[in-house]
Amino acid sequence: MVWRLLLTFLFAAQALAWEITVTFTTDLHAVLPRFPDLTPFLKQADLILDGGDAWEDPRILSDEASAWATMQWMAKVGYSAMVLGNHETYLGPYLLGKLLREAPFPVLATNLRAEIPVKPYVILEVNGLRVLILGVFWDLAVVWPGWELVDPLLAITEVLSRVPKYDLFILLGHMDTARAKELAAKLPVKCDLFILGHDHKMYEEPVWVNGIPIVQAGSRGKAVGYAKLGPSGLLEYKLWRVPELAPSPSLPLWPLAVAILFLLGLR
């Protein structure tokens, strides 16, 4: 009898003592030369997530090839999910649709109504736990003809009312910090981790709002975020600054040549 009770207690204690580790990037902006440096950091976790703005960058005039290369690198590393950022919308609905159809990981846009294959939510099974992941974006997004961008809080509330049972909730957000804090303060359920992208900030410590840890890992592959979650919430958070070994990509010249041709005339 005592042994049976002891075993039951041990099993119960084991069930309660779970841990899930998450590594994440934010605002990668197709900075291809930096990717090999990030890979070993990212592969140290159960879940690899991205906070948006991964596939495009007007500062380096990134092209279609770099969007594909970034998506394929993310697939190879084993990203579990990402949220759409405003820079993904700059790719245009046609190219973005093609990338989304080929991406082997879910790309979330809980608050977007559009005929592109984004998902409102995903539930991933990790270490026997069901992890619900939602992703919302807002600021500076281009809303293409026929698209509708819904208020993030309204969209989250609607999705939460119909999702299956889950054990853990991670929110990916791509918006400025002030809006993210406002959203976190109004969330109707407990959120275990809020990974934020958009304003390129390096959070050495989480920003706590309404008991929700908001984290962010800078931009252009300068850092990788790491979070360990347990039954009591966030157990550990680290921001790994990644040594800058590779130079940033240089600007292509052909768009300038095309623009000059337009200005001078095609005759």
Binding site: P58, Y90, G92, P93, L95, A141, W144, G265
Partner: protein, 127 residues
Amino acid sequence: MSGAGAIVVGPAPWAVLPLGPIQLFLGYCEPPFLLRVQILRGPWFAWLDLPPPRIAFGRSPGHALVALVREWQTLNLAWEIMGSPWLSLYGSLGCDNALGLRFRWKQWWFSGLIREGGLSLWFGVYF
């Protein structure tokens, strides 16, 4: 730009029919038929209109769309800046100057356009 179809009602109504990478424009304007071939579809955008031959080249540098539009003798910079998901400011600079405000709701939009000193109102739906 998206390859979507549209019906637009205003002083000179027109419609767009999407046919894969080609769009057919039909309207009460000159020319009444126009064929648009999408050459680049992101992140650089380029398209060719026939007739008359007109070529455009653009990009979205942030939450705006800008495109250089070249006809045989004229050059324009077409642009649209998103103020919010519901509101945008758009216009044209160069040989043809115009300024408009567009309100969107789902697939519907309503716009006021100032061009050649006059205001015109437009209403459209994407499909």
